[in-house]
């Protein structure tokens, strides 16, 4: 199978695991980099033991979550408690262009793989770390997850109904977009600089600092002080009505009347052209003033419609509308399917499964993904091809439990 060419020749030594970090190196691997994921049987990636699994499957190779975040990588498994394994990790570090890690500060240092250690042998290395709150400061060793970073950053407090507790995104959102996205931007920019100058560097992405940037406008608003950013549910200052409504078929639709014309068209499509003439609702200002009334009217009218039909009718009139796609819907969504967003990959334990690649096409094409690796699947080939061991030597290292 053809490997995507975009980042061909870029070798990445990958100590990332679980959430945000794994998504960074998945993107690099999906775009053609040779990502060597360092694994361990003694302490497997948490995602390998996380659901979902297909009924009847179990063990470290069965996690669908792991498979969805580790496509196109190679897995190299070793026991870092053994000095010889650490020696091999050092040799890999010397032969790679990039090292990535989202371990807590101190872990790589204990293994003699600090930035300074690696740079001594490999001055051009790009060394990416993704500590929760940075490697310095009083909270440098505090632990967290995507959801707790979302809470610390202010994103959670700002998301939800103003009259109820904050609700956030319902996910570990910082792990999925803000932190891998920013880490990739910093990493690729550093690679670009190295291409031009030969200079390597260390990149630190504090997951907290990164996440605050995706609510950056709220920081500006608070600092300007005229208004205080607050939870607003599905409402917005620039559209009304704007919300999510239950359709007659039990599905949800999102609708946003972003102009007076969109409002009149919405009223018309809902079978109430007279609402468009109602003086209470003429301008955005009017509609914001009567928003609760308006929401109730729209809510009632939408129950007479089915989701996909109403979406079609509203889109035909240029009224912003979309189905609230569930996890089943996104797999069948006609735009995502038409653009080849999902690739069905065969996994030896899980079987066929839809995996998403990068959210863009390059020159009209999708990079071809490969299924996530089994634990240690590429240990032998990497030991031979990258580290230059003979077959007999590799078998000795495996027999001694250095390699797995």
């Amino acid at each position: 199978m053809a490997v995507s060419p975009y980042l061909e020749g870029l070798r990445v030594l990958d100590f990332c695991w679980v959430g945000a970090g794994a998504f960074v190196t998945k993107m690099l691997a999906d775009l053609g980099a040779d990502v060597i994921k360092i694994e361990s049987r003694a302490r497997p990636d948490n995602l390998r033991v996380s659901p979902p699994r297909r009924p009847g499957t179990s063990g470290l190779e069965s996690s669908g979550y792991f498979a969805s975040r580790n496509s196109s990588k190679r897995s190299f498994s070793l026991d870092m408690r053994k000095p010889e394994a650490r020696e091999l990790a050092h040799r890999l570090a010397a032969s790679c262009s990039v090292i990535t890690s989202n371990f807590r500060p101190g872990v790589l240092e204990r293994w003699g793989l600090s930035y300074e250690d690696v740079r001594a042998d490999n001055p051009q290395i790009i060394y990416l770390t993704m500590p929760m709150q940075g490697a310095s400061g009083p909270h440098r060793s505090f632990i967290g997850f995507g959801s707790t970073i979302s809470a610390l950053s202010g994103l959670m407090h700002l998301s939800g109904d103003p009259d109820r507790p904050p609700v956030g995104t319902g996910t570990h959102y910082p792990d999925h977009v803000p932190n891998p996205g920013h880490a990739l931007v910093g990493l690729l920019a550093a690679l670009f600089h190295r291409e031009r100058t030969g200079e390597g560097q260390a990149i630190e992405v504090s997951q907290l600092e990164s996440t605050i940037n995706v609510i950056g406008s709220a920081i500006l608003e608070q600092s300007l002080g005229a208004t205080i950013p607050a939870r607003n549910g599905n409402h917005a200052t620039d559209a009304s009505p704007r919300g999510v409504f239950a359709c007659g078929d039990g599905e949800w639709i999102a609708i946003s009347a972003t102009s007076d014309q969109a409002w009149r068209d919405l009223a018309d499509v809902l079978g109430h052209p007279e609402w468009g003439e109602d003086v209470r609702f003429c301008t955005l200002e009017d509609r914001k003033r009567h928003e609760d009334t308006l929401d109730a009217m729209v809510r009632r009218a939408v129950t007479a419609c089915t989701r996909d039909e109403l979406t079609r009718l509203l889109r035909a009139r240029h009224v912003p509308a979309a189905p609230v796609n569930s996890s089943r819907d996104v797999l069948e969504d006609e735009d995502l399917v038409a653009r080849g967003y999902w690739q069905r990959l065969a996994h030896p334990v899980i079987g066929p499964m839809a995996i998403a690649g990068p959210p863009f096409r390059i020159d009209g094409e999708r990079p071809q993904l490969r299924s996530a690796p089994l634990l240690g699947e590429h240990t032998r080939e990497i030991a031979q091809d990258v580290l230059g061991f003979g077959a007999a030597e590799v078998e000795r290292l495996i027999a001694e439990g250095v390699l797995e």
């Binding site: 060419p5 975009y6 980042l7 699994r53 669908g64 969805s68 310095s136 400061g137 009083p138 505090f142 632990i143 997850f145 959801s147 707790t148 809470a151 202010g154 959670m156 700002l158 939800g160 995104t169 319902g170 977009v177 990739l184 931007v185 910093g186 690729l188 550093a190 670009f192 600089h193 031009r196 100058t197 560097q201 630190e204 992405v205 504090s206 995706v214 406008s217 709220a218 920081i219 208004t227 917005a236 620039d238 919300g243 239950a246 969109a262 009224v319 912003p320 979309a322 609230v324 796609n325 569930s326 996890s327 996104v330 038409a338 653009r339 998403a356 863009f360 096409r361 390059i362 009209g364």
Partner: protein
């Protein structure tokens, strides 16, 4: 070629980027600007109101457009498009969100641009991908819906609810910046620019967590979990001055769960002893509704007279992943962020005010990213750019201005 980095700049010093997006891709160009690129935002003359929008929107515009220069060119007119072409001739990348059919008609489509500017990296940012977007109007809410993130957000007993902050714009921009950099890197090898076609819907579909895998492998459609605890020890909990969030369940270590119970026992919380029983150490038990409820009562008694910060400090000392649910004022007061000098104050001459910005999302040891300047006024740099980059004579400039082209 403009490929020599200038001394002291960021990693993209010497690179010129034309930002012809509206909101959807604007943050992509902002990221490149902070990394040292000369980013020139092309806006329509007289479009100031539409661009600045209302209230919160202007904060958004100000945030995503800082570090850029702004010029106004009327791209509806051939003379305006000729100026854009001359600018692209002297640029490395274009990030745009032109309506596709219009761009096809006037020769600003990716194929025509590639024919005229073979080394130009092109990034199109659109709602559903360039081939699927025309004729549709969307806003943040409808994109969150189409991308699948909205379905996972909100309270279980109410309608799905959006995340704050135009995350469709942020997500599309983040991946547009990634695509732009991949193509810039690849240009050296390939000798030509590539075209990256970013979909906001797809960018949000990156964020659906394990829900698609869950549906694929088990047939279960995941619903909104809200802030309700998913299992004893994981969720949002009220305290004396607000809320905290904690992960001491499935994703947390067993150690964290035991540390949490020991803390409550030590403190003499009524009912804490009950949680030391062995069944509580197992996940299936902690996931039972009665267990979630009982834990909530005991933990609620513990947190009722403690502040967010007391709980944060105490939990982290014990290796428990608990954080305050910060409002923005608390974020600005956070001691960790202060110790790291995260926030950046910038004088905005246009506003006559000092504004506080978040610092860069990453720290690059050799070539740091930095906010170059506050967001430019509408068209503030038109004359400079036309004169210095396009070598337009003063006379020509005057006639372009009189004709309303710039």
């Amino acid at each position: 070629m403009i490929n020599e980095p200038s001394a002291g700049g960021g990693p993209l010093a010497g690179i010129r980027v034309v930002d012809a997006t509206r909101f959807l891709g604007a943050y992509a160009a902002r990221l490149l600007a902070d990394l040292g690129a000369d980013v020139i935002r092309v806006e329509a003359p007289g479009d100031e109101d539409a661009e600045d929008g209302h209230g919160a929107e202007s904060h958004f515009a100000r945030f995503v457009n800082s570090s850029k220069r702004s010029i106004t060119i009327d791209l509806r007119r051939p003379e305006g498009r000729a100026l854009l072409d001359r600018l692209l001739e002297r640029s490395d990348a274009l990030i745009e969100s032109f309506p596709a059919a219009w761009a096809d008609d006037v020769g600003l489509d990716p194929a025509s641009l590639a024919a005229r500017h073979p080394r130009l990296v092109q990034v199109s940012v659109s709602s559903y991908g360039r081939d699927r977007t025309d004729g549709r109007t969307d806003d943040d809410l409808t994109l969150l819906a189409a991308g699948g993130l909205l379905h996972l957000g909100g309270y279980p007993d109410a309608e799905p609810m959006a995340a704050f902050g135009r995350q469709s714009h942020m997500a599309a921009s983040l991946f547009a910046a990634v695509g732009a950099l991949v193509a810039l890197l690849d240009r050296a090898r390939l000798g030509r620019g590539r075209w990256v076609d970013v979909s906001a819907q797809e960018s949000l579909a990156q964020a659906v967590e394990d829900s698609v895998a869950t549906y694929e492998l088990t047939g279960h459609v995941r619903n909104r979990l809200g802030s309700e605890p998913r299992e004893a020890g994981t969720g949002v909990y009220a305290c004396a001055d607000g809320f905290v969030t904690m992960v001491a369940g499935r994703l947390g270590t067993t150690k964290a769960w035991h540390a949490l119970i020991a803390w409550m026992v030590e403190d003499g919380v009524p009912g804490a002893d009950e949680l030391t029983k062995s069944e509580w150490a197992t996940l299936p038990h902690r996931q039972r509704p009665e267990a979630i409820e009982r834990f909530g009562e005991v933990f609620g008694a513990f947190t009722a007279d403690r502040t967010r910060l007391d709980l944060y400090r105490g939990a982290q000392e014990r290796g428990i992943a608990l954080s305050p649910v910060n409002d923005v004022a608390a974020v600005l007061d956070d001691p960790q962020l202060a110790a790291r000098g995260f926030f950046v104050d910038v004088d905005d001459a246009q506003l006559g005010r000092r504004i506080r910005y978040p610092g860069p999302p990453y720290r690059l040891s050799a070539t740091p990213a930095a906010l170059a300047r506050p967001a430019p006024g509408h068209g503030a740099d038109t004359d400079d750019v036309l004169r210095d980059i396009l070598d337009v004579e003063e006379e020509t400039l005057t006639s372009l201005r009189q004709a309303g082209i710039v």
